[in-house]
Amino acid sequence: MALDKIGIAKRIAQELKDRYFVNLGIGIPTLVANYIPKGIDVEFQSENGVLGMGPFPFEGEEDADIINAGKQTITTLPGASFFDSSLSFGMIRGQHVDLTILGAMEVAENGDIANWKIPGKMVKGMGGAMDLVASAENIIVAMMHVNKAGQSKILKKCTLPLTGVGCVKKVVTELAVLEVTPKGFKLLERAPGVTVEHIIASTEAELIIEGEIPEMSID
């Protein structure tokens, strides 16, 4: 069975490593914070100027001056710090942040990503996404494998305006875990009960498939 959004978040959480500083995008990536593997320490950065982000506040304890990049009220954890936008993107551009997890509309086999604009429709802007994808050493995309019209979002070439070029390292969808290699997408894992044939049929790009493809292990 294909994963739900929480399943995608749980699988991506397995990519977190001890002592990682991580930037989480809006949507599925935000959920990853709820499933940090036991026994490791990670800190979450939000590009509006906080490191050491904690969970949402208890009702009545919201502070309008403490929000994340999704403009949601948050709390901070011991060791947290606040800083200005220029320093925040210094952290990102300077590759002090180890991992960026974000959503996408399309990802191509060369690692290109598109996630900020659909021509002819509303353009909401790129926010910090272009800085994040251009700078991060490790970028994981969390998204659904196909769009609402049933078309694959895993493509040979992006059709939408790009956010960044050749930057995505891994993609986790409701169907599969894919690695972006110099030769294209390599199928690493499949969602529980999802067949390789189903994944191939749902993917416009060619897939590199070597040997038996294991099922994802998700609690």
Partner: protein, 232 residues
């Protein structure tokens, strides 16, 4: 001590005229200069070019200026959550330049720090880089971006003193420090204005040299855009 205190918002915004370029601090509705925005609505200043990360919501923040059609051009990184903005943009009434958030922050900081231009990897290979000089450094491609050139910067801080020194609170800091001193005149509005000598010099985030006018704002609403809580 050089005194930067002005008596009210009217005095603070003296000299802002139609057609000027203004930087405004804030991220979403967090850390925005509420009093100054309200005064710009009162003044009916028109044809403004506004540099601000976001454009407010329909009935608050820069949305108030949009509603009165006082903004000619908006330079931002993200402009969602604003139906009037969408309408003016699609109808062509409003000119919009979208730029990456880190580039926006650095173009402010560059203006503050006297750096005319800089190279960043953000936007390389995208439409953001069209028409701009690109150059390779350490095997990676970068795009040249220029410092902003603004007439006024309007920032909001938590505490300030009569010398113009500023202290920010939480994530309300955001773009306010980089915009301080990034325009010909910087106006700071603060929740609490104290006499110079009261604040600990070790705790100052922005030194008064970057601020020309400071005043204490009134009745901060501090609206929350996304109220998210957890169960006890």
């Amino acid at each position: 001590m050089i005194n930067k205190k002005v008596t009210n918002v009217q005095e603070a915004l003296q000299g802002i005229e139609d057609g000027m370029t203004i930087m405004l601090g804030g991220f979403g509705l967090c850390g925005i200069p509420e009093n100054s925005i309200a005064e710009l609505v009162q003044k009916e200043t028109k044809l403004l070019t506004c540099i601000s990360n976001n454009a407010g919501v329909d009935d608050f923040g820069l949305g108030l200026l949009l509603h009165k059609k006082q903004i000619k051009k908006m330079i931002s990184s993200y402009v969602g959550e604003n139906a009037e903005f969408e309408r003016q943009m699609l109808s062509g009434e409003l000119d919009v330049e979208l730029i990456p958030q880190g580039t926006l922050a650095e173009r402010c900081r560059a203006a503050q720090a006297g750096i005319p231009a800089f190279f960043t990897p953000a936007g390389y290979g995208t439409e953001v880089a069209e028409g701009k000089e690109v150059r390779e450094f350490n095997g990676k491609m970068h795009v040249m971006e220029h410092a902003f050139n603004a007439d006024f910067a309007i920032v909001k801080a938590w505490k300030g003193d009569t010398a113009g020194n500023l202290i920010f609170k939480g994530t309300a800091r955001n773009f306010n420090p980089a915009m301080s001193g990034a325009a010909k005149i910087t106006v700071a509005e603060v929740e609490e204005l104290v006499e110079a000598g009261t604040l600990d010099p070790n705790q100052i985030h922005i030194p008064g040299i970057f601020i020309q006018r400071i005043f204490q704002g009134e009745k901060y609403e501090k609206r929350i855009e996304q109220r998210t809580v957890r169960n006890r």
